[in-house]
Structure formats: C-alpha cells, structure tokens
Symmetry: C2
Subunit: 189 residues, 2 copies
C-alpha cells in the first residue's frame, strides 16, 4: 500500500515531471499537473509524446523534482537520455527527490485526455528542509507561460515571462538564473 500523502501530495494540483517510455524504448519527460480530488489521482494530458507513450504502455512515473533547470528543459525540449535511470517498469529521473509509478487508465479526448493514476510502486530518495524561494517559484510560473507562448505566440506571454524573470534575478540562486537563461534560449529558437 503506497501512502501518497507521505510524498507531500495533497488535494489540488501538484506539479511533477512525468516520465514515460515509447514503444521504441525512448524515455520521455514532461511537467504535468497531477490532480488529487477526493483522494483520487488523475492528470489531464494534451496530445503529446507523454500521451502517445501512455496509450502504448499505460504507465507513468511522477517524479518529484526541485531542480528548476529540469522543469524548464522537460517543458520546452527533450531531456538527455543520460538523465534517466531505468527501473524494471519505467524510466525515472536520476535527480528526482522521489517518484511514484502509476498504472494509467486513459479516457481519450480529442485534444485532452483524462488519465486516472493508480500507484503501483514508489521510492523516496531524499527528504530535505528548504525555505521558500520566490525565484524558484517564478521559474515555474515563467515555464507555464512559456509553454503557452510556444503554442499561441502571443506577446502577452513574453510580458509575463519578463515579469517573472525580474523576480528570478532578484530572489533566485544560480540554478534559477540558469533555468531562466535556458528558458529564453528555448523560446527564441
């Protein structure tokens, strides 16, 4: 029996990185909002590599991560295969603080599918104490805006990214500044 709450997961939406595997054995990583509602876990996933992979092998690992660069990279590009480690069931992220592997039940939609998540295996690698860093939080918000920008190309998203960048430059550490640099590089491609 896996105690989801031991992983700090609560009602609402937890931002994690889903790792999945393609029929060809290629690992993929993407940030996903994992919903918990009345104790049930699910994700709403747009048409994407993550969804294709889940449709071919109905399993996903939720990686709990505190590295801002991993968030930006997995949101806007591909993560190098060297950053994964392979468990029997699925690839997970080497640098995750912990992970939960789920069996997935997918209700396919036209643009967005609802994926129910049933925990089957879990691992806590590292517990830590960490104060709030507004710079880290701003990287996450900037990444959300950047994923919208790359699809919709509306200038307002750049304005919001620039706003969050001022918080990163003021409050963030080296990791957060590297993450923002990468974010700007990836959306300017």
């Amino acid at each position: 029996m896996i105690d989801i709450r031991e992983f700090g997961i609560q009602e609402g939406i937890s931002e994690v990185i889903f790792t999945t595997i393609s029929p060809e054995g290629v690992a993929n990583a993407a940030p996903i909002g994992m919903h918990m509602k009345n104790g049930k876990l699910f994700a709403r996933i747009y048409n994407s590599k993550t969804l294709d992979n889940i449709l071919s092998k109905p399993a996903a690992a939720a990686n709990i991560v505190d590295d801002p660069v991993l968030f930006v990279q997995s949101a806007l590009s591909d993560i190098e295969q060297g950053k994964f480690e392979f468990t029997e069931r699925l690839p997970v992220l080497k640098d995750a603080l912990g992970w939960i592997i789920f069996d997935c039940i997918c209700r396919k939609g036209e643009n967005i599918s609802v994926v129910e998540l049933l925990p089957v295996e879990s691992n806590i690698k590292r517990r830590q104490i960490k104060p709030i860093n507004r710079g880290f939080n701003a990287v996450i918000e900037a990444t959300v805006e950047a994923t919208r920008y790359v699809v919709l190309k509306e200038k307002k998203y750049i304005g919001r990214i620039d706003y969050y960048n001022t918080i990163v430059q003021k409050c963030g550490g080296p990791g957060e500044k590297d993450a923002m640099k990468l974010l700007y590089d990836l959306i300017r491609l």
Copy 2:
C-alpha cells in the same frame, strides 16, 4: 559550526519567518526575505516591530515554514503567543520545519536597516519530500502584494491578489484556500 546550506539556504533570497522578542517578553513573527550574497547572510528590514525588537535584543530566529496560513497571518497580523515555543535564546515557531538563531548586527537606516546575520544555534525538526504546488506559491506572491496594499492602498495590488487567488483556487489544497480567505479578511479590515 552551523552549515547554512544544510537548511536549503542558497545565494539569493530565502523567504522565512523571523521571530524576535520585545523587552516586555512578547514574541513577534514576521516574514522576512533573508539574503545570501557571497556566503554572507543579511536582511533588509523596514521600521517595524521586528526591527524594534532586534534593536533592543540583537537576535532573531529564521523559521523555515511550509504552512501558508502562518505566512499570511504573520505578514498581515499578529500570531497568537500559543504558536511560539521558547528556547533559551528566543521564541521560535512550534510548526517550523526547522530554525536558525542569529546574532544580529544592525546598520540602522531611516526607513530600512541592514541587519547582518551570524548563526549561533540551529535545529532541523522535520525533513520532507513535497512536490511543487502553484497554489502555495501563489499565496506567497499574494501576501507580498497584500503587504504593499495595506501601506499604499493602490488598487493595482488588489488586481494582482485576485490573479494569484485564481491560481490558489485551481491548484491549492485546503491550507492554501484557508490562507487566501484569511488574507482577504485581513486586508478588508
């Protein structure tokens, strides 16, 4: 020798709750951005109870906290004395994940003072694993805007608080929703 990095404190600004004590023995709590620059710790503190207390007894405890309600309450009102516990040196927060007590060297300014922080005692009470919650982060940003609003009374801050509230309602758990409710109550007084 206290290893500050063991507390997750890095270059940049960490958001913690400072607890201090008045000459009359009354404990006070307030959110403070704790700066680390080239390995040195300091805070920039506006004229406030926290500053008065540090000027009378030059010591402060940085409490690492993950309770959104504590952040809102300590930013916009007073925390009940029952939420403190008293160490030999200073009061700290019962619900802190950990704390560091600092000797303070204060360079008094007219409106804002720079307080150098020299660690003298520390305690890690609880390490944990926790995914990112955008609702939690939004409570922190809303609290920053709310502290500006109560001083400057400009409507733009309410607009920003309302924006962050939409994120809290979408992504937050019960604690985050309670914190936002309290925030709105406290700024409407």
